[in-house]
Symmetry: C2
Subunit: 275 residues, 2 copies
């Protein structure tokens, strides 16, 4: 039997450089389908397109309009095919009232992570997290929250209670940082494509600034630096510059072997109220 996540990101060829996908209602958050998940669907189509370069080294999504559950088409244009890397642009669109609407525009450079060198000089340090059993599992959120964020059932996210104040109905920490342990609901191993989803799954850091709600992403860029070792991942979201109605949100993903496997940054709009 296959994994739920593989069905959710599945693409099928629909013409030269074209792929069809079916965006899952289970990945809805607030007013649309989760931006990281949609970027993984596009990333999966690019992977299908590029023989020999299966892994996103860097992928950038610019969000044009809110994606809805249901059929979508991905068109891919190869910009450069090199020995070590390939660069493409891609667009995910949907049909609304008989008319095609672009949802997300993407640039990405792919390669083969099994071929990168082993010289690792990471100075960043992994998040210090309490044991999983002392954390707050987001899928235990109250029904009114889950009605708005059905994607909480797609994964096990165990939040560090020190920065999960707002999420459990308590006081926000006042610091724009949220961190926790992560795996997909059915333990599906996290590969480079799934990492692109993982970086966008923690609650917006603005929760901990006392501004709960959905924060629409303008742009999300993800660097995948290694294929994670098996086991739970550690995720940390942080922002240092909430200003002018925008904030940047950086995510780091660490694997069970202590390797920094992904780094992302997004520019998001200040949150809109829930519900």
């Amino acid at each position: 039997m296959g994994y739920e996540y593989d069905e959710a990101i599945a693409v099928s060829p629909a013409g030269p450089g074209e792929y069809a996908a079916d965006l899952q209602a289970g990945w809805v958050v607030g007013g649309g389908v989760n931006g990281g998940y949609v970027l993984s669907v596009i990333g999966n189509a690019i992977k299908a397109q590029l023989d020999g370069h299966p892994d996103p080294y860097t992928i950038s999504g610019y969000y044009l309009s809110a994606t809805t559950p249901g059929p979508a088409t991905i068109r891919i244009e190869e910009l450069r095919r090199g020995r070590g890397t390939s660069t493409v642009r891609a667009t995910l669109g949907q049909v609304v009232d008989g008319e095609h609407v672009d949802r997300v525009s993407v640039l990405a450079t792919y390669g083969d992570l099994t071929r990168v060198g082993g010289d690792i000089r990471t100075t960043a340090t992994p998040p210090e997290l309490p044991p999983v059993e002392e954390c707050v599992l987001t899928s235990t959120a109250p029904p009114d929250v889950k009605a708005f964020v059905p994607m909480l059932d797609r994964f096990a996210m165990h939040l560090d209670p020190a920065c999960a104040g707002t999420f459990v109905g308590g006081a926000p920490s006042g610091r724009a940082m949220i961190q926790g342990w992560f795996e997909l609901a059915d333990h599906r191993p996290i590969d480079p494509i799934a990492l692109v989803t993982a970086v966008d799954l923690l609650p917006p850091v603005t929760f901990e600034l006392g501004m709960p709600g959905w924060a629409p992403t303008l742009e999300l860029t993800v660097h995948i630096r290694a294929t994670p070792a098996p086991g739970l991942l550690r995720l940390r979201h942080e922002s240092r510059n909430f200003a002018g109605g925008f904030f940047e949100e950086d995510c780091e993903v660490w694997d069970s072997a202590g390797r920094l496997v992904a780094q992302s940054r997004q520019l998001a709009l200040a949150p809109r109220p829930l519900g």
Copy 2:
């Protein structure tokens, strides 16, 4: 009399959504024209295209091949025109032996920075720098370095001596951080378009890891958060994950009023030897 920088980034209309530019030999670094400067030229064309949305909120460049000094063409395709923001994709190309070659592919979302709100809750802190007169001016580099990096004459970059070891022929600090004071050579005020250049002008942080040389950029994303106040800017480059032949390089730009005006991140390849 006009500023040198304005001539360097000038674009002229060359058809619907098309602009012509002349990339300056004075902005060469190592094997190509500086990536931040090229991104500003593209950014300037996008600014010309988008009435009412003059400022890049976020701009991403994917580098396809090394740009050379001389004529270039920018093609712009509008993806979304909204009330507050517009999103485009753009490509800069050059003619090589009679054939068009794509150099840089871009996605960008523009708006009007004079219209963003004044709610500023920045928790990042500006670089602590010694006074300008105690810093190392990069334009005083030896002739063999400047022959390889002629762009050093385009600006005044005053490096913090604590992290300028390799640059002055001393020992590297061992920490992937370089910072300094910055202005353009002829004191041309730094606007949002020029900020896109500024984030790519410090020496690669790998200098301070004992790996001098030019570090080719795969991808550079810049968030412009405010128009700088007049005066010298403070710049800081930092990397936390040198691994597998790649490193991320984050730049922050602070203005004289203490505001974090730009944040960028690039994914770069480990340096190639100078010369």
